[in-house]
């Protein structure tokens, strides 16, 4: 069954089983492998993408759920003009503070950080705790993530 969705600003027609998780549509069908598989059970946040601007777990969203909707993945945060100021600020802060260690969870961390700063431009530590708690980092880069979010907030 074919579904139409706008992914990173581009309209895509995807012919998959309606129950296929969005994660596998992105990775297997569209070759957008920046979005990572972590647990497949909405526990780790590695697969976080934006659906109509809101952070969701792509391992839980089914293909049929994205019909006619906007999906943004980490690949959507390019260096060109289409990237939002918030995403640009996050990218700059992540690079400046050298946040990533192994990097596997970072696409999800960045998607959540952008989601947070889009809605709360000047988040408190408590806001960060609440908004980022669903993103697990095996390397424990949490302190740098927090610092980078505050750093990005300064630029927004």
């Amino acid at each position: 069954m074919a579904f139409t969705a706008t992914i990173n600003g581009k309209k895509n027609s995807i012919d998959v089983d309606p129950e296929t998780p969005l994660l596998w549509v992105l990775r297997d069908e569209l070759k957008l492998t920046g979005t990572k598989f972590g647990c497949g059970a909405a526990l780790c946040g590695a697969c976080t993408v934006h659906l109509d601007g809101e952070a969701v777990r792509s391992c839980q969203i089914q293909a049929r759920d994205v019909e006619g909707r906007d999906v943004t993945t980490i690949e959507g945060f390019t260096a060109d003009a289409s990237t939002t100021p918030v995403a640009k600020a996050v990218q700059a802060a992540w690079i400046k503070l050298d946040v990533a260690q192994c990097g596997y969870c970072q696409p999800g961390q960045i998607m959540s950080a952008v989601g947070l700063l889009t809605q709360i431009p000047k988040p408190t530590d408590d806001d960060i705790d609440k908004a980022m708690d669903g993103n697990v980092c095996r390397c424990a880069t949490y302190h740098r993530i927090r610092a980078a979010i505050h750093e990005a907030a300064k630029a927004i």
Partner: protein, 210 residues
């Protein structure tokens, strides 16, 4: 032997005399006893009737306390999970609209139905009940008064409450939660019957224990 024979001859008469005596006494007191019994019965009815009415809420309360219902009716900002009612993983919190905080929105994971891939539960309008409808830890009396208080229950009258618990797909999910989740133990038709009986009696609430 002769004395024994005399005793055995007299014994039936003695017993008869005692029985007749008791009967005479009992019959003399019978009208008074009957009146007392009727009076007691009336008094008992007056005491039992309200108790019975309030007891109508007990089976309703038992269902409301089931983890499938109670986990989304906390009295704090943390939804619960599992039969042990542990706080929702990922530090999920209520948010301003009872749909979760930024990035941790209910809809980030919960869909209109259970996920066959991951087992994450889902039903239409998955959300946390407002704080005013928090039930955890409440006794029957407080649970009942909270339930029927329009200021707390989103303006629902009794009929609307019955409708909500009889037909809302999110409520009905509690009876077919899927996976290894324990369904509400009272069968739904029986629950609706008990709920309706309570509602038809005027939705009486139990008196708070002193």
């Amino acid at each position: 032997m002769g004395r024994h024979r005399n005793f055995l001859t007299v014994l039936p008469f003695a017993i008869a005399a005692v029985v007749i005596g008791i009967g005479v006494i009992a019959s003399a007191q019978a009208p008074l006893d009957r009146n007392l019994l009727i009076a007691d019965a009336n008094a008992a009815d007056e005491k039992i009737a309200p108790a019975k009415a309030s007891q109508l809420f007990s089976p309703v309360a038992a269902v409301l306390r089931h983890p499938r219902c109670m986990n989304c009716h906390p009295r704090d900002d943390r939804p619960r999970q599992g039969d042990d009612r542990h706080p929702h993983l990922q530090n999920i919190v209520r948010g301003d609209d009872n749909l979760g905080f930024v990035n941790g929105r209910c809809t980030a994971c919960h869909r209109d139905e259970n996920s066959q891939h991951s087992g994450v539960p889902g039903a239409p309008t998955w959300h946390l009940a407002p704080l005013s409808m928090g039930w955890q830890g409440l006794g029957d009396a407080e649970l009942c008064s909270t339930l029927i208080d329009k200021e707390k229950n989103g303006g629902k009258d009794i009929a609307a409450l019955v409708e909500h618990m009889a037909k809302d797909p999110l409520v009905l999910w509690g009876w077919t939660p899927g996976g290894d989740r324990t369904p509400v133990s009272t069968p739904h038709p029986q629950f609706v019957k008990e709920l309706t009986a309570w509602a038809d009696a005027g939705a009486p609430c139990p008196t708070a224990a002193k």
